[in-house]
Subunit: 156 residues, 2 copies
């Protein structure tokens, strides 16, 4: 049976509000097998994409092996912050956590797509998605506005 | 008026079959202004994501300034192939072109999300999406099957 096809269709039933988290973590040894197949770049990183169940692409960040391992073992999304050079458990400061619903690696095993249950907003600017600089005939224009103020996000 | 919000909602009306391409290229000088704001990495690249109007994330690849410029000016998606170290006009061999419907850069201007009208399939394996290695409790399992054979894709 194709596990993730079932999870995939299940995930698409997940609406933003009543998220039903379906992710079942593999055993540590299986996670290590998976990570052994992943093609990390020269900096030890892969691209990591988060998408909401309704299809909105929320953000693109980076993961090293430790971040991917923690994400797959705990179901709580953890990235690698290139600027701070440390693990970045999404929401550790802002509370805007991401719970994993489904994870898929791409054909050449150097990027991961995660369907996530996002608490609040994904972007540090307070927007739901980080992808908001829209290309228009007049140049870049914002396609969305902050839903939460940056002070609220990081002030508390 | 928020151009791309309108384009965005319009794009979501686009079904796979009767794609109505809405992208209007900016003038060259405006494209150059946009590119001047983009944060290319040490290799001169940004991450480039293609998503279908129905929400399926098709692929993640890379663009340098020339590839992004050609994409924004022509509305036909062009990547940078890291393995072949040259511009990669999507579909130039396989015919599986991508026409731009909408493009948005992310908050720190180092990744672009493109809603595209994909001819055929996006993945070199003949699958619609490159993201098919699903993480399951039993390890990686394919979440989709090829829709076109690789021979058919590259044989002709």
């Amino acid at each position: 049976m194709q596990w993730t096809a079932a999870f995939g269709s299940l995930a698409r039933l997940v609406s933003r509000g009543d998220a039903f988290v379906t992710y079942v973590p593999p055993a540590p040894s299986i996670v290590d097998d998976i990570i052994a197949q992943v093609k990390f770049d020269a900096n030890g990183l892969i691209s990591a994409l988060a998408q909401a169940p309704d299809g909105v692409v929320l953000m693109l960040a980076w993961m090293n092996a430790d971040a991917l391992r923690e994400t797959l073992l705990t179901g709580r999304v953890c990235y690698w912050s290139r600027s701070r050079q440390k693990l970045w458990r999404k929401g550790e400061t802002s509370g805007q956590q991401q719970k994993l619903i489904e994870a898929r690696l791409d054909c050449d095993m150097d990027a991961v797509l995660m369907i996530v249950d996002q608490t609040g907003v994904a972007c540090h600017t307070g927007r739901r998605s980080c992808f908001y600089h829209g290309v228009t005939p007049d140049g870049l224009r914002d396609t969305s506005q902050p839903e939460i103020s940056a002070e609220e996000l990081y002030g508390r």
